[in-house]
Amino acid sequence: MGFFLETLIGGLMAGMLYSLVALGFVLIFKASGVFNFAQGAMVLFAALAMARFAEWIPAWLGLQGSYLGTAAAFVIAGAVMFVVAWLVERLVLRHLVNQEGATLLMATLGIAYVLEGVGASVFGDDIYRINVGMPKEPVFLFEGIFPGGLLINKEDFIAALIAAVLVGLLTLFFQKTTTGRALRAVADDHQAAQSIGIPLNRIWVIVWCVAGLVALVAGVIWGSKLGVQFSLSTVALRALPVVILGGLTSIPGAIIGGLIIGVGEKLSEVYLGPMIGGGIEIWFAYQLALVFLLFRPQGLFGEKIIDRV
């Protein structure tokens, strides 16, 4: 029982991180109907910025070893993501208003390459470490209830907590604020939104900023776990099945989809692995997504697509 719970909790925590990346997709899709292929590149770019600024800033200001330097690096990396959002709107999206979804998708594919290229040339293409002072040592919980206790990875736990808080805040932002309402309006109908005086351009900058911020948080967490390297941009591919599972338009969907996939991966690896051979973790999510595409293409929480003919 203890072992099962351990696996379950491990899965939930891993799932929370998938959710975080998936959230980036959902935010942009909700507000602009664009499937943002560049989300992975944004995570990489943000993580690179964070890693390098965390090196550079303390060196410039003489703040070695202080949290202040890390905090400053985070703020500056955030500002960089803001500039990225602004440039994306200025140079790309603005010229593609009211275009087909496929056109926009291709445009984001282009953005992904530009971000990866610029990221590598500005920040370098080595493997960097991000150290935000996350505790690395595992802890044992509930030793009284289970023999030996439950082994919990503290770092994962804190990361999951951060992700959960961020998701909560974003949901509130979307549901409760005027700007959030405007974002949802734009997602529903560009033309109507414009006609009531919602400035599309500003909304897009805001939404890419938020997605950039989410990418930054995801990048920092993943980066401090695995190190910042080029392969970080493929994190987005891991989040793709999450989005399919949860539905492209649903923030809760992204979270629950992430949790399901995180848990599913771990449980199937541990319990099915010995029977059909290991490595299930790698393909499980995609198989699940395939099943969903067959039977429930709008995902768990997505809006059902009904076309009146």
Binding site: F173, T178, D188, S195, G197, I198, L200
Partner: protein, 260 residues
């Protein structure tokens, strides 16, 4: 009626619009006076919706200009139009389907909101007071349109007639000085049409809103409008008070087919 028709508030001068080789509007001029109800009529494909889209900047005419309260616009865009007090409804209802009625109407207040993102995020003093004030305004519109009972319903679930009413509500929530209505009564039954007519007249009468509307139903148009523009194949073939337009031989032949 208490309203007084005033000066020209919106003046269109020699507007021509084409899509590729297709001429949607050719050299059309007409004006709209403050507080009046101005109808645009014409057979299918006459360019009525294009005309409305030009006024609110969805389409940019190749030639001609729009003069709004003495201000010249050779290029209008929907955002500028909204800022200048023009709001509109759509022929194929363009509501935000996932949101409920209140939220849809609240989006209409968007331009009037002054608090910034940070204040909103924390539901801070100014933002909070503002939201409540706008909410009060929206409730007024809801009362006015008699849609209290559906205020929390997602609009996607409402029947067509009510969606049309919510569409009007969102436009009204903007407190426009000019309201553009694109076939507000299309597809409605007689009762719904009567309701809609009453709302349009009340808006015009109580708030003094200038109204430009497109409508197919001739009886309705002749009944409620002060002046009528008639379009056919993108050209203006008649303009004037309903009785004069009705007697215009060009208009008769456009509607009934050529008489020769």
């Amino acid at each position: 009626m208490s309203r007084q028709i005033g000066e020209v508030i919106l003046d269109l001068k020699q507007v021509s619009l084409s899509f590729g080789g297709v001429k949607a509007l050719t050299d059309i001029s007409f004006d709209v006076r403050e507080h009046e109800i101005r109808a645009i009529i014409g057979p299918n494909g006459a360019g009525k919706s294009s005309m409305l889209n030009v006024i609110n900047g969805v389409y940019r005419p190749q030639l001609g200009e729009i003069i709004l309260r003495g201000q010249h616009f050779s290029k209008m865009n929907p955002y500028k139009a909204a800022k200048a007090g023009i709001s509109r409804t759509f022929q194929n209802i363009a509501l935000f389907k996932g949101m409920n009625v209140i939220d849809n109407l609240m989006t209409g207040r968007n331009l009037k909101i002054r608090s910034n993102l940070i204040q909103q995020a924390f539901w801070w003093g100014a933002a909070r007071r503002e939201e409540l004030a706008h909410r009060a305004k929206v409730e007024e519109v809801i009362d006015f349109l008699e849609i209290q009972h559906i205020r929390k319903t997602p609009v996607g679930r409402l029947p067509y007639g009510l969606q049309k009413r919510v569409d009007l509500g969102r436009a009204l929530a903007m407190e426009p000085s000019i309201l553009l209505l694109d076939e507000p009564m299309a597809g409605m039954n007689v009762e719904e049409k009567q309701d809609m007519c009453r709302f349009i007249l009340d808006v015009n009468d109580q708030f003094g809103t200038t109204i430009v509307l497109i409508e197919h139903d001739m009886a309705v148009v002749m009944d409620i409008s002060d002046r009528v523009v008639v379009l056919d194949y993108g050209k203006k073939i008649g303009d004037g008070e309903p009785d004069a337009v009705r007697a215009n031989p060009d208009v008769i032949s456009a509607y009934l087919g050529a008489s020769h």
